[in-house]
Symmetry: C2
Subunit: 262 residues, 2 copies
Amino acid sequence: MSRTENVLTKRVLTDVKGLLTKKTRDAERKFIVEGWKSVEEAVNSGVKCDTILYDPHNVEEYKLLSLLERSSRAIYQAKAKEIESISDMVTSQGIIAVLPQFNHIAAFSSVLRKSEALIIALDAINDPGNLGTIIRACDWFGVDAVLIGKHSVDMYNPKVVRSTMGSLFHLPVLTDVDLTESLAECRNAGCTMYSTELQKSEDVRTIAFSKRSVIVIGSESHGVSENISVLADKRIKIPQFGKAESLNAAMACSVILSYLKL
Amino acid sequence: MSRTENVLTKRVLTDVKGLLTKKTRDAERKFIVEGWKSVEEAVNSGVKCDTILYDPHNVEEYKLLSLLERSSRAIYQAKAKEIESISDMVTSQGIIAVLPQFNHIAAFSSVLRKSEALIIALDAINDPGNLGTIIRACDWFGVDAVLIGKHSVDMYNPKVVRSTMGSLFHLPVLTDVDLTESLAECRNAGCTMYSTELQKSEDVRTIAFSKRSVIVIGSESHGVSENISVLADKRIKIPQFGKAESLNAAMACSVILSYLKL
């Protein structure tokens, strides 16, 4: 019997659906990835899939499918409706993969040992699309690691996963981080810590950034928390040329990365 | 009788609701702005409001309210429910203003006469949040004018208006533009035209940008249209450092503006 002839029971479907809530994701240490492209990015990054549901009438990547058939723990054919009942997308893309959550602790430690390192730390980013966009920008500009603080939206939220467009699988992104602790670790390892702030801060253009930097981006509504801000070596800001009052967190992050890299 | 004692009839409510559709907005040449902050930005920019609906139990800005009472064509007290029935926001902010659409033709002509000018042209940006974010970034970096091509989402769409965070009122933004025509106008006026492209393009860092530039940003899925791309003096790209395949249009725009200005 080919492995794809596994019978999709209600129980399996209910288990996968459970992962739409953070509580179950945290308990099971798993999350959902949707769409052929994103699943391919996951597999290419070396992640081994746990469960796969796919619609045999909506297969975009036969090569990927046969790889998944060999390498996943369990693979099921599903009806379009069943996939849609889990999907977060307007038009579901015919495949849902359940993956184990990352463990990037070791990868992060090795980033801290590099002679040049750029780390982005996120304090209370609440919009899933913004968080996904930030991870994608960090990937584009070759950031070494991203730290997501405890008060941000869950990185394994399907909306975040989707809006990273696969970038989640390209660099170490640590979630649910105690920022006070991890930023102290960065500083002990010799990184200079910069906090982005609108007030009492210096124009980025006047700063000689260290080769080993960690830059904290705060929430759009509240900025960087006071208990994080006080740890910073420098408070930096993006100069404003027009009349807009602020940039959102994803734009601020793109602008700073652009400034540092270009 | 104080002007706020105007009676809010079903007819008025239906007329305002009509503006949620592009068809009615185009016919009436009006649009909706929500929230005290955004209405204030509109008024500060010199726009005269047509109709105002506000919830007397949810007034944030009494000074603004009394200004609106003097200056708007018609102002009505409304129930929270009535405002919610029009509102596009999760939590409505107690005020809806109907404004006349802009006429920025003259402002754009005067931009073309400046000795230094930076114009952003948008070809087929379909995501309302992205379009709003782009307008906000253009405002932040002091862009002189934004041209939105015909195949983009409507700038007067309430989601776009909201996501500009008031920036729509800070600079000339022209919508429903025939880009072929307007870009020819820019070039005739002496501007150099740059098209952002992933293929057959030069790294922005190798370009000596002209003091009078128009930069075209394409859609995330299809890039800049072929018929627009052929008009460009240069095709430019943002260099990639990591593994992300692309940046979304709003990020690409922020990154280029950051590169040019910082």
